[in-house]
């Protein structure tokens, strides 16, 4: 036991002497948590729209005003020629073209119906989809107003829909992203730094000097993992209770104790991944490349930025084998929904499985290679 104590003492001493590591755990999480959620905002604003107005009536004018005042659209061109508007799409100056046909107003009055034409530049799929949807919604609202105006007292039968957003009433994107990004940061600190630290001993040759001493391998490994476990908890605390609370006003709805319980288990699994990477690399450069590859997959396939349900079946399998997926889910569940242990029991069991598999695999491989 005293050997482990000295190993830990040595490890912490080295960590606190390394300015890069200190910067990694203090500055990087804060800066990333401040910048990333702002950049990863999916709310789409400033959709460029060109309007081809062949009608030039009061109704058309009202509709255009409605669109402009929604705040989502920026009118880049108002024209009477569809070809001009289409060339805007071609030159990428506009995202959506709305064509108002000649006689919209008179058709509405005479025949009680009119039609509009929307052309969307779908190169940026999300923007096209969201923009098209926004525009449709505005037109639907506008449609109802017109009907009320034209046929007062006879609204016809219609079903009204009222929507309530649970857990994030204002659809604040940051409430959703910040806990997820925090998971990524903890993963990077624990995974990367463990792998690099162990491989550094190999690269510098100090591991040889350690290996000729009677020290037990388990002690050596524990001496490596425990400090980074502590650092992981530290970074999480800093992110959750300083940055997220002060800057974004996020206060976990659920039990903090449960959150830390899951973090503790999650870190064991991720440290196992770091250890595993270190057994497959001999230089820090190799470890870096390998971790980068793993992290990219872990992060992009974790459901952090995109919904897992809309991924193809094979990608859903990868996401299911990705520990980050579960922690992102648990974070959102506990922080936003206030979920209890009984809601995330499955997540606990799966993470325990990951922790076991990664660590056993790493230890077997570690013994084989040295």
């Amino acid at each position: 036991m005293s050997t482990l104590k000295y190993l830990l003492q040595k490890e912490f001493r080295q960590i606190f002497r390394n300015p890069t590591i200190l910067r990694m755990i203090l500055i990087v999480p804060v800066v990333q948590l401040i910048i990333l959620p702002l950049a990863a905002d999916f709310e789409i604003k400033n959709i460029n729209i060109s309007i081809v107005d062949n009608d030039r009536s009061v109704v058309a004018h009202d509709l255009i005003e409605e669109i402009k005042s929604s705040g989502y659209f920026k009118l880049v061109n108002y024209t009477h020629d569809y070809q001009v508007a289409f060339s805007d799409i071609e030159s990428d100056e506009t995202d959506i073209v709305l064509e108002i046909p000649d006689g919209l107003e008179s058709d509405l009055i005479r025949e009680q119906k009119g039609s509009l034409f929307i052309a969307v530049n779908a190169i940026n799929g999300t923007k096209a989809y969201v923009g098209g949807a926004y525009l449709t919604r505005i037109i639907t609202g506008f449609n109802q107003d017109i009907r009320a105006e034209l046929n007062p007292g006879n609204n016809g039968a219609s079903i009204g829909v009222a929507v309530i957003n649970w857990f994030n009433p204002l659809l604040n994107y940051q409430f959703f992203m910040v806990p997820g990004i925090l998971v990524v940061l903890v993963t990077m600190v624990a995974g990367y730094m463990t792998a690099l630290n162990i491989v550094k001993e190999k690269e510098v040759g100090t591991i040889e000097q350690i290996n000729v001493t009677p020290i037990r391998k388990t002690h050596f490994i524990l001496g490596k993992l425990i400090p980074f476990w502590v650092l992981g908890v530290f970074v999480f605390t800093l992110g959750m209770f300083v940055v997220a609370r002060i800057i974004y006003g996020i206060v976990p709805l659920g039990s903090v104790f449960l959150l830390y319980g899951y973090l503790a288990l999650y870190l064991v699994a991720i440290l196992g991944v770091g250890l595993l990477i270190s057994t497959y690399s001999n230089t820090q450069q190799q470890a870096m490349s390998l971790s980068f590859f793993m992290m990219m997959i872990f992060i992009l396939m974790s459901g952090l930025f995109t919904s897992i349900e809309s991924m193809p079946r094979w990608a859903q399998w990868i996401a299911a084998l990705n520990p980050v997926t579960y922690f992102v889910q648990v974070m959102r569940m506990i922080v936003m929904k206030g979920s209890e242990f009984e809601h995330i029991t499955r997540h606990f069991v799966i993470m325990a499985g990951f922790a076991f598999v990664f660590n056993v695999w790493a230890i077997i491989n570690y013994k084989k290679t040295s």
Binding site: S2, T3, Y6, K10, R13, Q14, R17, N18, V204, G205, T206, E208, Q209, I210, N211, V212, T213, P214, I215
Partner: protein, 301 residues
């Protein structure tokens, strides 16, 4: 009995079976200062790594102090000191921290073993709080030796301890080894410098994984079969070419100031001097050095 024993050790790192160490058998008696002499890539480090239980041999058996390197590696690790060829202490820890760290790994303290390391440690003690990475080459070497000695090992393995160290520190270092030997520690040291061979009690000449000869330095020199001459004249490069072309000369090798030559037939000295057509040639019979023996053994394999 803290002796070292190697029996038919083979080791290859590649699939194709190119051998780093080929059928090596050696015996180092307890308390000896034993030198493993050979150029880079001869297999010295491989032998050290097998004996220090860092790697496993492909075949053959090895033991240190009667303990098998495979079965009893735990006992061996407790009783040997190893100083790898590359400085491998923690560069970001100070001198004292390194020393204390390695002491604790062996469940001991600096104070308990102060007697053994005192002479060496005294020289680096003024730099106790300096980081190991900031020490000079000679200082690093002394610190590494201290760390290897901190648990009073019975056998000391030093892999090229004097490579990259200045001449004065090298001399000093061999003095320290003599001192340690007098305390009863078996020492196995490797070096690519042939001139250091004579400082060992017994040496093994190793080349491309094969042991060519094992004996005392004097005995190895005595076994040199030919009369050896040193020859010197202005225009040494050209002289070497002429010597190598001459039928009278069997071998000619450059050794700094002189060329060392042997004759294909005894008593051809005068004939050679005449055939060289040079005015100021200096030639004298000399005692072979270990390097001469090494070259001889290498070319007669």
């Amino acid at each position: 009995m803290w002796d070292i024993f190697l029996q038919s050790i083979n080791k290859s790192y590649t699939e194709s079976g190119e051998k780093a160490v080929n059928d090596v058998s050696l015996h180092v008696e307890e308390g000896k200062l034993f030198g493993l002499i050979g150029p880079d890539g001869a297999g010295k480090t491989t032998l050290f790594r097998i004996l220090t239980t860092l790697i496993l041999a492909d075949s053959g058996t090895a033991s240190v102090g009667g303990y098998d390197v495979v079965k009893d590696y735990k006992v061996i690790r407790k009783s040997i000191g190893y100083m790898p060829g590359r400085f491998s202490l923690y560069q970001d820890l100070t001198v004292k921290e390194n020393l204390r760290f390695f002491a604790t790994l062996f469940n001991t303290t600096i104070q308990d073993n102060y007697g053994l390391i005192e002479d060496i440690y005294k020289q680096i003690e003024p730099f106790n709080d300096r980081k190991a990475g900031k020490l000079s080459g000679g200082m690093k070497q002394k610190l590494a030796l201290c760390c290897a000695l901190i648990h009073s090992p019975k056998v000391l393995f030093l892999d090229e301890p004097t490579t990259g160290v200045d001449a004065v520190s090298r001399k000093e270092f061999w003095g320290m080894l003599k001192n340690l030997k007098s305390k009863g520690i078996t020492i196995m040291v490797s070096t690519p410098y042939m001139d250091e061979a004579s400082l060992c009690e017994e040496i093994a000449l190793i080349q491309e994984g094969n042991i060519m000869s094992v004996n005392t330095p004097d005995e190895i020199i005595a076994q040199y079969p030919d009369m050896l001459y040193a020859i010197k004249s202005p225009g040494m490069n050209q002289l070497l070419q002429e010597l190598r072309k001459s039928e009278l000369v069997a071998t000619a090798n450059s050794f700094g100031e002189y060329h060392h030559i042997t004759f294909s037939k005894q008593g051809s000295m005068e004939l050679l001097l005449k055939s060289l057509h040079r005015s100021d040639v200096e030639m004298k019979p000399i005692r072979p050095t270990i390097e001469d023996c090494f070259i001889h053994l290498m070319t007669h394999e």
